[in-house]
Symmetry: D2
Subunit: 140 residues, 4 copies
């Protein structure tokens, strides 16, 4: 199970007139966690690019359970969900640093591989992705 | 069927290093469409607030089918999906002005009612929402 | 005097916990006005790019006189300020549609020309910019 | 001389189609630095609010000397510039972690005090600000 944490402190400019984080910003938090995951496991955007691919998001889903506010110290947890298709699937959980059992938001994203610069969708897993899975003992 | 359109031109600052709209910005486009819907049908944030409620998003879902680029002229279509629960459900479709049959992105959002200022979740449909539904011949 | 207007309606997600537009978003409004100017006068980012140049901002200045709020209908006025140097200078004024004498914010931006893809700073006015000035009767 | 540093890693969603950080995002970096300053010196937004004031930005100025790109590790340095008027003046410098002598961007912001909730401009320094200055040996 490949997992990664990152810490996010809610910025003033991310809270809306209700005083709570505007819902769209959680996609930034998810991206922060993916980026941390990428650094930890050699799976970052820049690794994809040097292999000749981009990995655009094709699906994003978010569930909001409890609002966050300016100054809140959040943990964004990101987990790689292995699957056979030529896709990258991550699931996410967000909670306060001091209250890990109360999930504030959760969600998932799905990314596909497109070749650069033509943006052609790849139906098969690129070789570097297969190698990466093998290296990390992922068998699907 | 209550429906509304709004036009969005992709801004330079919304496109990412791949030259395509960063996926998170579509939640802004959805919000632009909800806002247009609100103006058209008397169902805007400010109407909710004057009735004593806020309507935070509890679920957002996005599917991206084809990227948009800086300068693209998009239509964001937003449709109210009636349901019995004390929730507001919208579905969305985005396409280019000149190519309405090619959907670029779609999605949905679910909002709940919370009382202001306490942010207490409302399990029953607020009276003003019932009246609004009746006025617009919505029977669920 | 080359001038252009564009209308901006303040979005919910642009207002901060104080209920007023977060100050950073005004740079988006300025960009919206530059883009409208570019369309009106054949002076858009895409024109620059097809001529082989990008025009990054090197200075931005903003003065905020009165806050704007969610739902406000603003006019962003943008004026080209001619000058001899190989720079693009715009000044801006923002006011409410219904109250043009009360300036809410003002500012200016300065852009330079860099060649693409090397990003080399151009000390001399590019030929296409000279032609554009002549076409619009700008003699500095 | 009251000073504070914070580290910012450039996010994918902050870079534009040119591959460089969109100029408007530097105001977020400045805010991150102000926030870090506030935590270090007891001078944060929440301290202002509990004293009954907000401190909106009335002027912001940015000079961009060299572009930053996705993944760059930046230091944002923020310095309090004492002055007699009822204003808060900060100056900023941004550079790469590994190259502190090459300034990428600099700027300043000016904030004023307004009472909450009425947003009345304060012409005199609020008492808590005077006390804060004395505590930190600031004599103007």
């Amino acid at each position: 199970m490949l997992k990664c944490d990152c810490k996010v402190v809610v910025r003033f400019n991310e809270a809306d007139p209700l005083g709570i984080v505007w819902h769209g910003h959680y996609l930034r938090y998810f991206e922060d966690a993916r980026e941390a995951f990428g650094k930890k496991y050699g799976f970052a955007y820049l690794d994809f690019h040097s292999a000749g691919f981009a990995v655009p998001i094709v699906t994003a889903h978010l569930d909001y359970k409890k609002p966050s506010r300016f100054g809140d110290e959040l943990v964004v947890e990101c987990e790689f969900i292995p699957q056979a298709a030529a896709k990258i699937h991550f699931s996410y959980k967000i909670f306060e640093v001091n209250n890990p059992t109360q999930i504030l938001a959760s969600g998932y994203t799905v990314q596909v591989f497109v070749s650069l610069p033509a943006f052609e969708l790849q139906w098969d897993n690129p070789e570097f992705f297969k190698q990466w899975k093998i290296k990390h003992n992922i068998w699907v």
